[in-house]
């Protein structure tokens, strides 16, 4: 592979940027692989990359029904953070954060990782106490967290609506190492790293069925580009997990819902990092191009439509106006929707399924982008060794039956509340 460097940049600048090599090989399916990964989003590609890099398993195919990165990997609001409070979550998301911090060097790819800080605002005494508790839990796990009071927040973001009659801003919990990453570049960087190690990335190849042996174990997949055999099939199809699992006769504790995102016209730098509204569901950051990128709640009903409805647009914009009235002057440029896998406790599943040969990476709800590196790492570990990775051991499929839910938001088993 040609490594990117200041020299390759200079060389290609001299030839008018027309000689850059392809980023990854666009492979055609072969008859059989050791592992087939279904879904060419960030999670699927990261899994393939770590299978090759960490475990030396390179006879791997990633099959993607459309083009890689066209799903949620390319639709999210790019926020990365590890400010989780529950034991099952904190080490996993922190491991992800650590991998983000070394990702560009590891992949030799600019993913524009920007640790600008993530600030969660609080608006009541009770919420402050809850954030203090979460911050303490994070620190006990070695994760950075600072509890700010109103003066600190005023210094960081003077434009916020501090004197809102119902939701005055009293302070916030700041994770300075949180921030954003360029989502498409994450996909392309993992694709390049995996492809260079021998992984076949096969686009326009939709899984349509599974091949089973006499004992019912999965030994391959049927696709729109023919049959591919493999004794291990890992499914990472965010938003479509139930549909794919149904092809294997499996029902999951998951509902598919639409989450919308919005971007404004480009402005000069105004918002320093990521800011979230603690009284409603609204979060915002500014892209490097200057657009304000923001979002809020899911639309609240099952959907596979990849587009949302106006009441949610109104609700999100109201949240934004309540928090920072100045954004009312910015023009909204675009909005779009992505289909997210809402699990029944709001946490993901990385586990073998009850069917031999079938492994699941699902239920990422609306927060799985930040998990991309650790999810790939843990899923690769599971596929290679048959054992859960230590940071992801809690993400079991049977936790709903055994009562070991991981309900970070404490809002119960209702997908529309996560």
């Amino acid at each position: 592979m040609t490594r990117f460097s200041i020299f390759s940049l200079a060389r290609n600048a001299l030839s008018g940027h027309r000689q850059w090599p392809r980023t990854w090989r666009d492979a055609a399916p072969r008859e059989a692989y050791d592992v087939v990964i279904v879904g060419g989003g960030g999670h699927g590609l990261a899994t393939a990359y770590y299978l090759a890099k960490v475990h030396g398993i390179t006879n791997v195919a990633v099959i993607e029904k459309a083009w890689i990165g066209g799903g949620n990997a390319g639709r999210n609001t790019t926020i990365i953070r590890s400010n989780y409070g529950l034991d099952g979550n904190t080490p996993f998301y922190e491991w992800s954060m650590k991998l983000w911090e070394g990702l560009e060097q590891d992949l030799n790819y600019n993913a524009m990782i920007s640790q600008r800080g993530v600030l969660n605002l609080y608006h009541s005494d009770g919420q402050r106490d809850a954030f203090a508790r979460r911050g303490n839990a994070m620190r006990l796990h070695g994760v950075d967290a600072d509890l700010l009071d109103q003066t600190d927040v005023r210094r960081l973001a003077p434009f916020l609506n501090f004197d809102h009659a119902r939701f005055p801003i009293m302070g916030g919990l700041l994770q300075r190492r949180g921030g954003t990453a360029r989502h498409d570049a994450v996909v392309w960087g993992y694709a390049r790293g995996a492809s260079d190690r021998g992984v076949d990335i096969i686009q326009n190849c939709e899984l349509t069925g599974f091949i089973r042996d006499a004992d019912g174990a999965i030994v391959g997949v049927e696709t729109t580009r023919g049959t591919i055999r493999a004794n291990k099939v890992g499914v990472a199809v965010a938003g479509n997990s139930s549909r794919v699992a149904a092809l294997a006769g499996l029902r999951l504790p998951i509902e598919s819902h639409v989450l919308q995102a919005f971007v404004s016209e480009a402005l000069k730098p105004v918002i320093p990092g990521v800011i979230t509204f603690g009284a409603g569901h609204f979060y915002i950051s500014q892209s490097d191009k200057g657009g304000l990128v923001f979002g809020g709640d899911i639309d609240g009903y099952n959907s596979y439509a990849s587009r949302g409805n106006l009441p949610t647009v109104e609700d999100v914009c109201e949240g934004g106006m309540a928090l920072m009235p100045m954004i009312g002057r910015a023009r909204l440029l675009r909005s779009w929707g992505g289909i997210v896998d809402m699990s029944m406790d709001g946490s993901p599943i990385i586990d073998r399924s009850p069917i031999d040969g079938l492994y699941l990476n699902a239920g990422w709800c609306y927060g799985g982008f930040k998990a991309t590196p650790a999810s790939g790492w843990a899923f690769a570990h599971l596929l290679a060794t048959g054992q859960p990775h230590e940071t992801a051991a809690a993400y079991r499929l049977d936790r709903f039956a055994t009562g070991h839910l991981i309900d970070e938001k404490g809002q119960g088993a209702q997908p529309n509340l996560h």
């Binding site: 139930s242 549909r243 149904a246 029902r251 999951l252 504790p253 998951i254 509902e255 598919s256 609240g300 009903y301 099952n302 959907s303 596979y304 439509a305 409805n309 009441p311 109104e314 029944m344 709903f400 039956a401 088993a413 997908p415 529309n416």
Partner: protein, 83 residues
């Protein structure tokens, strides 16, 4: 998206609260509870689902909607649907 309430007629969706798939039935023994509470068919296509007309007549209704494009093909009062 507009929902056609059998009692009130066509109304904006934001008057309603969604409560999901109308298919699961409360089991009579403990055995079925895991399925009932957690597992979903999560249909991509026509689905019958519960909505509550919170800012209208306050009826529970069963709406038939295609989850791939939000098209509705009918709605009945939930108490009639359960008969």
């Amino acid at each position: 998206m507009r929902i056609s309430c059998p009692y009130c007629g066509d109304r904006d969706a934001h008057e309603f609260v969604h409560r999901g798939d109308a298919a699961p039935r409360r089991p009579t023994s403990d055995d079925g509870f895991y399925d009932y509470v957690y597992l979903r068919d999560n249909i991509a296509g026509p689905m019958r689902e519960h909505w509550y007309h919170a800012q209208g007549c306050r009826n529970w209704i069963v709406v038939a909607r295609d989850t791939r494009n939000h098209q509705m093909s009918g709605a009945v009062l939930a108490r009639e649907a359960s008969r």
